[in-house]
Amino acid sequence: MLKKVILAFISLILLISVTGCWNYSEVDDISIVAGVGIDKGESEGELSVTVEIVDTKEGMKSSPAGFKILTLSGKTIFEIARGIISITGKKLFWSHSKAIVLSEEVAREGVIKVIDWYNRDTETRSDVYIFVSKEKTAKEVISLSSVTESITAFALAQQMRSEKNVSTAPVVEIWDFIDKLEASGEFAMAPLIYIHEQNKIKNARVSGTAIFSMDKMVGTISGEETKYMLFAKDQIQGGVLTVNDKQGKTAFSLEILSNKTKVKPVWIDGKLQMQINTETQVGLDEVMTPEEFNNINSKNVLEERAGKELQERILSIIHRVQKDYHADIFGFGELIHERMPQTWKKVKENWGQEFSELDVVVNSKVIIKSSGQTSRSIQTH
């Protein structure tokens, strides 16, 4: 009898443990955030956050899921993140968000105040892509509808994954960005995002780079310049290299197959010099002129000219960043720190200035590996 009573008692106690999860929530109690845009708020010192929310209701009807845009202003990002619940009635679910777009204004004022929450909080994941909007606000970018995907932020993420075929914008996840902010001798950067308008249909286009000095944006470089900047950073994986013909008109397209860049700091005549050597394997993909590509010899001439042009372009973008922005996005400082710790101790205090006076030498080599399906240019008779 006693045994039965005890058993019954234990069973009752066991009931406590089957009451379910502590903080159990159904999928329809949360709103899934796809992307975030951060602008300055209307009043001074305020921020305005725009979230793109996946519309799960529409998704049920087997049509592609739609999205909804919500904007709220507040003093801190987290305050807004929670405040949005007062509009949606549902708690936001952040870990599926793919893109965070900062307006240029916010970026120029300093980004630490807007990205710390994203990196610190456990509801978010720090592997979202970060962008700077070249348009007036981040809101208008995040509210666009996209060509390929129904949700802009997911389309942006897709663009970043395919970016290695274009190489006109750096691919930066938020942790990488913070990494660069913290590392001594390296400056952060983020891709720029535009609105590309065509037949009154607006699309987001990613091209170019925003350059940061400390946590403040100081300037931009174009998509074309970004490509050569990536060459100097050894981050190029693909893309197109155009080469001029003898007259100086663009006539050849080379597809970048692979690239290896070696950067070496050396002392020459008591002056620090960065030696950049690039070796690029390319395939010839387009010849826009009937002349100049007929035999093996013309291949060598083309290789040489391509190397020389690449060299000049890389050098010119380095000089531009040195002159205009004093921001070492190439990570030269980090290299000096690693290879010459003693020298670094002397220059690190004033690295921005030292960087802009740094002597840089570029040496590029282009190797044409293939010429596609045809072996010569189209001949006219």
């Binding site: 456990t122 590392a183 001594s184």
Partner: protein, 368 residues
């Protein structure tokens, strides 16, 4: 008191998991930035003389544990007083391990669950296994060690593509002094805690096995911690690692193999649960044994539940928050633990040597 005996392999597994403990997730003290791993190697070298002392103590007092040794050498009163210090040390250490687990689940995994709940779950498991006896702990440790090594290897392999070897340069970036300071820190939070194992040495039958167990486990646990430290360092870079509370968790979250194998960090937390479980259980076992020895109880089992519940409750209020926890374990712990880990064992060893040689002398004299 019935005698429990466990094989050498089991004891090594327990010691390895105990030594790896919380450092596999918390990371090591990190003033030296990218030279942390050198500090770890230094700490492994530094612990060798200490191990020799511990092993020698085992040879001098075969089949006895730390508390027996203390009582035998210092006499009934003083020996018991020092035993009480060690009971406190084991009890506190177990509570700290539980607390690290609690902080981990509160700040990362189960953010809305009160911290006591996961600690209670793990703590009750510890109580159960200790009540079941050290043989059970040994057997489970052997299985769990294989699992731990396997998970570590898998994570390391998956993260190879994300390792950036240039983070290792320049060596000794922050100066030799910070490396030495980290060496002391690493020494005290990992290897030197092996003193607790001495409290379970009565379970080894073989007199010569002490050295083998201690060296083997320092080597294996050193490799495990080294692989985790290097992985975190090369993946995240020294600056980021220094800002994170749980670097291993974050580095696992960066793993992304072909957009398919990603977000696996929660699975890696299993390893953390394993090491914390073994560490807290062993601490609980040693503390209970100590209480049993000091108060001449028939069996340590009668106090396990009480000690365990107290340990869980203590873990709940031992720190106010995670910042305090980090400050204590990186800055204060090395000073606090030094007497327990080095000074008292050293004095114990010297006294024991004198005592043994005297008694040999007496034996020789009485024989003549």
């Amino acid at each position: 008191m019935n005698k429990e005996i466990i094989p050498v392999g089991h004891m090594i597994s327990v010691t390895v998991l105990f030594t790896v403990g919380t450092s596999i997730f918390m990371g090591l003290p990190g003033q030296s930035g990218n030279s942390k791993w050198i500090a770890l190697l230094f700490a492994m070298v530094l612990v060798v003389p200490l191990i020799l002392i511990y092993a020698r103590l085992h040879v001098l007092f075969p089949g006895k544990d730390l508390f027996d040794m203390l009582i035998a050498v210092y006499g009934r009163v003083l020996g018991r007083m020092i035993s009480c210090l060690y009971i406190w040390y084991a009890f506190h250490l177990g509570a700290l391990a539980l607390r690290v687990f609690g902080e981990f689940s509160r700040s990362v995994a189960l953010t809305e669950t009160p911290m006591l709940v996961p600690m209670l779950c793990l703590g009750l498991l510890c109580i159960w296994v200790v009540k079941a006896g050290i043989e059970v702990l040994g057997r489970s440790a052997k299985l769990l060690l294989l699992f731990t090594i396997a998970v570590n290897l898998i994570i390391f392999t998956l993260s190879i593509s994300k390792l950036e070897y240039h983070h290792l340069l320049p060596l000794f970036d922050k100066g030799l002094q910070s490396v030495l300071s980290d060496t002391m820190g690493t020494f005290s939070v990992t290897f030197a805690e092996i003193i607790i194992i001495l409290g379970a040495f009565s379970t080894i039958s073989n007199k010569a096995a002490g050295k083998k167990i201690l060296f083997g486990s320092v080597l294996i646990s050193g490799m495990i911690i080294l692989s985790a430290t290097l992985r975190n360092l090369l993946m995240l870079g020294p600056e980021v690692v220094s800002s994170l509370n749980f670097p291993s968790y974050v580095s696992a979250s960066r793993i992304n193999v072909g957009d398919f194998l990603s977000r696996i960090e929660a699975s890696t937390a299993v390893v953390f649960v394993i090491t914390t479980f073994i560490k807290a259980s062993l601490c609980l076992y040693v503390a209970s044994c100590g209480v049993a020895k000091v108060f001449k109880l028939k069996s340590y089992r009668s106090v396990v539940l009480q000690m365990g519940l107290l340990m869980i409750y203590f873990a709940d209020f031992v720190y106010k928050d995670i910042m305090e926890m980090q400050y204590f374990s990186y800055h204060i712990y090395k000073i606090y633990a030094f007497p327990f880990q080095v000074i008292i064992p050293l004095v114990l060893w010297i006294c024991a040597e004198i005592m043994v040689s005297r008694s040999k002398h007496k034996q020789v004299a009485s024989q003549q």
